[in-house]
Amino acid sequence: MLEAFALIIVGLLTGALAAALGLGGGVIFVPALVVLFSFDQHLAQGTSLAVIVPTAVVATIAHARTGNVQWRLATPIAAAGLVGAVLGAQVALRLDADVLRRAFGVFLVILAVRMAWRAWRLNGRPAQEADPS
């Protein structure tokens, strides 16, 4: 009972953060399932994906209602993404993933610094155009 309640709360908070930031939520769901509920990594990833798909559908509808989905860009990103994911999985099977993983982590931190630097220069620009709904 308590566990069920905890799962719903984790879902609520992660869903809100992920939808606001344009992420799936796996960044939080996977570690939460592994650490708090003792899932193994693979089961945590699969379960996380099962949550992410419907959650992302709801988030997309909500974003689209405020005019924040650029469908013309989303289409090529999604199509190329599917091809890329198949290639990436093949590469992962052939290379030393651990070194690459660390390198990628460093790259993400550099991206974070660039995003923060850009945000800093926005000077608190207000939200976009008025809500059309």
Partner: protein, 118 residues
Amino acid sequence: MTTALTKAAVLGGIAGVVAGMFGVGGGVIVVPGLVLWLSLSQQQASGTSTATIVVSSAAALVAFGAAGSVDWPTAALLLAGSVIGAWIGARFAHRVNERSLAIVFALVLAVAGLRMVI
């Protein structure tokens, strides 16, 4: 616009490769790419990235589901909270100023990056 579509395809390809290699979602690449390279606002990047996540995570879910690596009862409980959270989060993103949203994104991205390094 053609250039934007080409950039979007390149961005999607990179995000896909990274997602396939490291098992991280494409959003960590797609959002910064849309903001820094295609000059979208943080809000537009969130919405557009979310739409691409529907497709990429559905494809990955098929693979994990086929392998039996999904705990459906747990997923259902998480989902009960997350669909409500997603609606609130997306609406909130539209109201909050872009700078605050961008700073929170940068923090989450930095944590995700550091987790992979350590």
